[in-house]
C-alpha cells in the first residue's frame, strides 16, 4: 500500500478516561489517541501481517462512519473530515 502522511501534527484526538476500582486503585488505564491524517495513493489495505488481531477492514464515507462508529468516537474525529 502506497500511503502519504499529510503532516506530523495530529488532526484529531480522542481521550478515554481511566477506570478505577472501588478502593481507587486503577482497574483500566485510559487512552489518549492522536490521529494523523494519511492519504492512500495506490494499493489496498492488508491486514494479513498485523499483530493486533485485526480481522476486518472497510472503506466508508463520512455518512457511513457516522453509522458504524461509536457516537463519542465519531464526535471526536468528525471535524477533521471534509463535507464530502
Amino acid at each position: 500500500m502506497n500511503t502519504w502522511i499529510v503532516g506530523r501534527v495530529p488532526v484529531a484526538h480522542l481521550i478515554t478516561k481511566p477506570v478505577f476500582k472501588e478502593d481507587s486503585s486503577l482497574q483500566r488505564r485510559g487512552e489518549k489517541v492522536f490521529f494523523l491524517k494519511g492519504r492512500i495513493m495506490a494499493g489496498q489495505a492488508d491486514l494479513s501481517k498485523n499483530t493486533q488481531g485485526l480481522t476486518d477492514f472497510k472503506w466508508v464515507t463520512k455518512d457511513g462512519l457516522k453509522e458504524i462508529l461509536p457516537e463519542e468516537y465519531y464526535h471526536g474525529v468528525r471535524n477533521m473530515m471534509a463535507d464530502r
Binding site: 502522511i5 488532526v11 488505564r29 487512552e31 492512500i40 472503506w59 466508508v60 464515507t61 462508529l69 461509536p70
Partner: protein, 240 residues
C-alpha cells in the same frame, strides 16, 4: 524515566559549572578509580526516582483517506445556471458561418444540414430549443422540471449528435448502421452496485476513510498503535 532523560542526567563527564563542586568531588571518589567510564553511550538506569504509573496510555492512530476522484454532480440549480450561461453565450457570439467550415455538398455538409434542421437551426448542440436571435430571444431560462439542463441528457444529446449520419457517397445511414460514439464511463462503478465496501473504486465523488475491526463484536475504529517513549507520533507503525 525515558532513555533520553536518563542519558542527559546520568552523564558524569559533561557537567556545567553551575552543577557545583560537590558533584565534581564526589564523582571520582565514589567510583574509586581514576579511569573514566568506558561505556558512555549506554545510559545507566540507576535512577531512584520512580514516577507513578501513568493513568493514560498514549496511542497514535491514522485516518487513512482516499480523496474523491470525481467532482460531484451539479445541483439542479447549478445545471440550470450552466445552461443559462450557454444560451447567453449563444446569444452573444457571432453567428455560425457554415460555409466557412463546410464545403458545399460534401458528406460533412450534408450531415450538418441534417442535424441543424433537427435542431431548428440552432448552432449549439446542448442548449435545447432556443432561438437566440428572434422575438423570443429573451426567453432563455429553463423551466422548472425541464430535463434540458440535466447533465445526463446533455451528454446523451452530444453523443448522439456526434454520430455521422451521412455515408461517404452522400446517402443517409440508417439508425442501426451508424457508428456509435463511446459514452463516458458511468459515475457509479461495479463496486457501488455490488456494495463491496472493501474496494477503493467506489463512491468516486466522496472521500473514503479506512476503518478496521478486531473481532465480530468489537466496534469499528481507525487503525492505531501504542506510542513507545522514544518514538514520535508519525514513527509508530500502525497496522493496516
Amino acid at each position: 524515566m525515558c532513555p533520553q532523560c536518563a542519558r542527559s542526567t546520568q552523564s558524569p563527564i559533561y557537567r556545567f559549572y553551575s552543577s557545583g563542586a560537590a558533584g565534581a568531588a564526589i564523582q571520582p571518589l565514589t567510583t574509586g578509580t581514576t579511569a573514566p567510564p568506558t561505556d558512555l553511550s549506554a545510559p545507566k538506569n540507576t535512577s531512584t526516582t520512580q514516577h507513578a504509573k501513568s493513568l493514560y496510555r498514549i496511542k497514535s492512530g491514522i485516518i487513512l483517506t482516499r480523496a474523491p476522484l470525481l467532482t460531484r454532480d451539479p445541483t439542479p440549480f447549478e445545471a440550470a445556471y450552466f445552461l443559462y450561461q450557454k444560451r447567453l453565450d449563444e446569444r452573444l457570439v457571432a453567428p455560425f458561418r457554415k460555409a466557412f467550415y463546410f464545403r458545399l455538398d460534401t458528406p460533412a455538409e450534408l450531415d450538418w444540414r441534417l442535424k441543424s434542421r433537427e435542431r431548428h437551426g440552432i448552432a449549439a448542440r446542448d442548449v435545447g430549443r432556443y432561438n437566440p436571435r428572434g422575438r423570443v430571444a429573451w426567453n432563455d431560462e429553463v423551466l422548472v422540471g425541464s430535463p434540458v439542463s440535466d447533465p445526463a441528457v446533455v451528454v446523451e444529446r452530444l453523443a448522439k449528435d456526434a454520430e455521422m449520419r451521412i455515408s461517404e457517397d452522400g446517402e443517409e445511414v440508417p439508425e442501426e448502421d451508424r457508428v456509435k460514439v463511446e459514452r463516458p464511463r458511468p459515475r457509479r462503478t461495479e463496486a457501488d452496485e455490488a456494495g463491496d465496501e472493501k474496494r477503493l473504486d467506489r463512491e468516486l465523488d466522496r472521500t473514503l476513510y479506512l476503518v478496521v475491526k478486531r473481532g465480530e463484536k468489537d466496534p469499528w475504529e481507525f487503525p492505531s498503535a501504542d506510542v513507545l517513549t522514544h518514538e514520535n507520533l508519525h514513527e509508530v507503525s500502525v497496522p493496516c
